[in-house]
Amino acid sequence: MHNEPLLSVNNLTVDLLTSKSAVRPVDGVSYSVRQGECLAIVGESGSGKTVMNFAPLGLMPTGVTTNLSGSVRFEGQELIGLSEPEIRRFRGKSIGFIFQDPMSALNPVRRIGRQIAEMAELHLNMSPRAAEARALDLVKLVGISDPSARLRQFPHELSGGLRQRTVIAIALAGEPKLLIADEPTTALDVTVQAQILRLLKDLQQRLNMAMVLITHDMGVVAGAADNIVVMYAARAAERGPVDKVLVNPRHPYTQGLINAIPRREDPIGSEFRGLPGVPPTLGAPINGCAFAPRCELAVAACTRSRPPMAPAVDSKVSVACPVVNQGKAAA
C-alpha cells in the first residue's frame, strides 16, 4: 500500500486581502488524498471549498492578496511558499483541473484538437505532430464519438456534455497524478451528469489517479468518492469515509444537509425539510462554532471556543462538534 498520501493538507488557512476588506475563506482545514482515491469536498457556496483547492496553486483573481499558512504537501513537496514559476510546473501537469463551466473553460476561437494538443506540447514536451496524435487518443479516452472529426470542431459546435468531456481531455493531457474537479457536473443535466460521473470514476480507476471532487450536491458524492470532507463557513465540520459519513452523519450540519434531500417516501405536498437560518457571511473569524446559531444541539460552550476536529466513536470519522464528541466521551 501507499504510505505517504499523494496530497496532504494540514491546518491550511487562507486569508484574502483586498484594498477594502479582509476575509478568511479557509480556516484551519486538514485532509489528505492517496493515489487512486477520490475525496469529495462538500459545502455550500461561500464555504471555502474552491478557494481551499485553488489558492495553494496560485489560482486566485488578480487584485487580491492571498496569505497562506499551514502546509500543503504534494508528493512530499511543500507547495506553500513556492514561487509562481515553481508552482507552474505542477499546475496543469501533475495536477489537472476540471472547471464548473465548460464553455468558459475553453477558448471559443480555437479548435478543440489544438486546445488539447497544446497541453501535451507544453507539459510533455511533445512535437506538434505527436501532440495531435495524443489529442486523438485523449478524445477517444473520454468517450467522444467520431473523434477525428470532433478535433476539428470549435467549442460552440459541441453540446454541454461533449464540452465537459473536452475539458476532461485537456485536464488529462499532462498525465496528472491528481485531478481537481470543481463542480464538474453542476452545469449539466441529470442524465449527462450520470455519464460524466461514470466517466470520471472510470478514468480515475483506470489511470490510478487521485481525485478531489468539489461539489455542493450530496447526491453526486456516493457514486464517485471514497472519502468526504464537509465544509461549513470556512471550516471542516466532518471528515471520513463516504460509506460512514453519508450513512450515519454525526455533525448536526451534515445531518441537516442529508436530511434536506427530498426522499421518495416523503408524501406529495408535504413540507420540505431544511435547515433554519442562513450561513454566516465571511468576515471576522467566528469565535465559537460557526454553525451554532442554526444548530438544534447548541449549548453555551459552542459559542465560546472553536470546536476542534476530534475522532468520533468510529475513529475513521472526525467531527468538529463539542456536543457530539462529549456524548462520545460519556458513552
Binding site: D189, D243, L246, I258, F272, G274
Partner: protein, 335 residues
Amino acid sequence: MTHAPVLKVENLQTRFKSVQRGKYVHAVDDVSIELYPGEIVGLVGESGCGKSTLGRTIVGLEKASSGRVLLDGVDLSALSGAALRDSRRALQYVFQDPYSCLNDRQTVGEAIDEALIIDGTKSPDERNRRTRELLDQVGLAYAVKDRHTRELSGGQRQRVAIARSLAVNPRVLICDEPVSALDLSIRAQVMNLFLRLQKDLSVACLFIAHDLALVRQAASRVYVMYLGRIVEQGPSQELYDHPSHPYSQMLLASVPEVDPRVEKLRSGPLLMGEVPSPTNPPSGCRFRTRCPLAVDDCARRTPPSHGLAPDHNAACVFAPDLHGGKRSALVHQPA
C-alpha cells in the same frame, strides 16, 4: 378543486428561425397542458427540451407560432392593448437567477413599489400597506424594504422576486427553476414558501425544474417533456411509481442516490447522448434515437398517447407494457 382550468394551453407551437436558411427550430411542438386553481404542476426534462420556451410562450415573452393560451377560458391571442395587459397581469413569471432579475440599484421597497404602480395602486399609503403584506407573505421582515437588493443573499433576493410577482395578484405563476441557483440549506425554505402560497392564495403554479425529487414532492401532477413535446403526464405519485415512457424511466433512473449502499447497487444502462437538435428533429417518435426499445415503426409515425390510469398518459407504442411492468427501458436489451 374546481373543474375549470385557470390556464389551458392548446396545441401550442413555438418556432424560431434557424441560422440555416429556410429552417426552423421547433422549440415547442404541439403541446397541450392544463393548470387548475391552487395546483402546483411540474414540468421536467433535460435542457434544450423546450420547457423554458413553453413557459416563456405562455406568458407572452415569446410569440406562439400556432395554438392557443386560454386564461379562465379567454384566448389571449384574441386580445390586444389594455385587455391583453390586464389578462397578462394574472400570469407571472419567476426567473431562475435571483441575481439578474432584480435591479441592483433599487431598494426592495422600490422594486415592489414599481410593480404596485404598474398594477394601478395610486395611494402611497395603500402601496406601503401592500408592501408590508407582500414582504410578510414571502417571509421577509418589513425593515428589508430600505435595503438595496444587491445587499441581500440569494434566498432573500428570490423572496423579493416572488413578492414582486405576487404584487399584481396573479392567478398563475410560471416558476422557471426558481430554486436551482440557491444553496441546498436555503432551497427547502423557498420551496415551503411556494407550498404555502399555493395554499393561502390558491395561485396555480407551473414549476419548471430539472430536479426530479424536488418536483415529485411539490407537484400534484407532472408533465415530462422531450424535444418540444410532452411525452408523458400524470399524477406525481402514479408517474414516479410507474413511469411508462422509456424517457421518463431513464430520466428518473439517472438521479443519483445519496446512500452509498443503494448507489453501489445501481447498474442500469445510462441514458446516453444528449437531446438532438430541434432544427432537424427525428421523424416519428423524437426519443427513438436514444431509446433502447426503439423499433422500425417508431420512425414512421408519432406514437399515439396511451391512457394508462386516470389522468396518466404516455406517448410510446410500448406504454401499456411499460406501465404494466412487462417491459422496461432499464434492463439491458439483447443486442
